[in-house]
Symmetry: C2
Subunit: 220 residues, 2 copies
Amino acid sequence: MTTRISSSSSRGRAYGGRSLDERRSKRRAQFVEAGIAVFGRDGFRAATVKSLCREAGLTERYFYESFANSEALFAEVYKTLVKRLEDDVVAAIDAAPAEPEATARAGLHVFFETMYRQPGTARILLIEIFGISGDIDRLYRETTQNFTRMLQELVGSIFALGEGSGTDARILSTGLVGSTIHIAMYWTLNRYGDPLEVVVESSLALYVAMARQSRAQDRA
Amino acid sequence: MTTRISSSSSRGRAYGGRSLDERRSKRRAQFVEAGIAVFGRDGFRAATVKSLCREAGLTERYFYESFANSEALFAEVYKTLVKRLEDDVVAAIDAAPAEPEATARAGLHVFFETMYRQPGTARILLIEIFGISGDIDRLYRETTQNFTRMLQELVGSIFALGEGSGTDARILSTGLVGSTIHIAMYWTLNRYGDPLEVVVESSLALYVAMARQSRAQDRA
DNA sequence: TACGTTTGACAACGAATAATGTCAATATGG
DNA sequence: CCATATTGACATTATTCGTTGTCAAACGTA
């Protein structure tokens, strides 16, 4: 232990024109981008701290400066990608005609387009997320719940899901979100062997069918 | 190398009243059961060869007698559980009234009941399966495809999915299967916080809605 | 009974990797 | 210019685990 405590002084001083906090958060961001690249390419299992550092162009010391372990970085990567996707989907929805089917189509289009254009993102969001740890499982569950809630609010009229015949609205929504996720997963694992538009329309058809079913029940 | 080749002789002789093949396949089966227990309890990542041997009551030598590595055992475990589930589902369907909705309900009931009564099985089939390796990903994709095909045949009339509006029947089926899988996953991760019957009915509602939608399209 | 087979307990070797530590080179502010 | 904060390359330590090998005891068969 040679560290000395200098009460006033130059600890945490500027470097390269940036404050300590700025440098730290820049390095942290570098690791998040490296994580997106490495986890998306090699998967979580095959990723090592060294490979993440190599990709980030930084050394282990700085990795542990920002993250307790690679699982913590993965959680951050996941949250970052979800946030970006969410922003894109919301933007597309806002730009679409204010009509339920068009809204849903616009959101689904951006979702599937992202999965297609960024296979690494697809791999992280759809596949790698599972089975890492209990904490990560919880993160997935919470994220999916948020997405389900968001869909319910945004395309509210489609989701006027009747409570008839012993069903539960939240479970129905979960099923619809699940159908979309699963179609995307299947599409990804099949190396995008179907045209984007067909995938979007097929996924959308499930929402539309459920909406009609609900309206039919309301009438009865 | 002290192994000598005795051409006629007692190599591969009986032991404990069982032939070599019988003993081998019994040991193999022990490892599969151990894998179900360990992978279901600890997950694939946390499972070691030693822990699998301890659970099986056998030593490493016999592990490598039957499997190249723990991934190979996992594949076998997965196939075994899928087969059992498939048999149970088919049996329930055969016993149900020969009417599409009742058939689908019976199948879904057995599916969700299995997930509820065997959380380890649920964990392996719904969560651990992802992100282990490219080979395992392929196994999942093929299994899901088979299940989709089976559902299409068994409840054929429900799946009279119209090809209208730019959709694809296989993708629609994938979406329906995905909704069920995802509801089960959600239910499992939420520690089975909803009543079984509500889960079954909600999952079923999506199939029913899609069927009505298809019939409506046929009429048009 | 005598021989080789089979079994199980456990040692041992090597590889990989997480996490921490060392040290010299460099940059900064006074 | 000097003291010190900062950085980066690399070493080190400790642990874990996969895989193969050793050996004695138990067993079956001729």
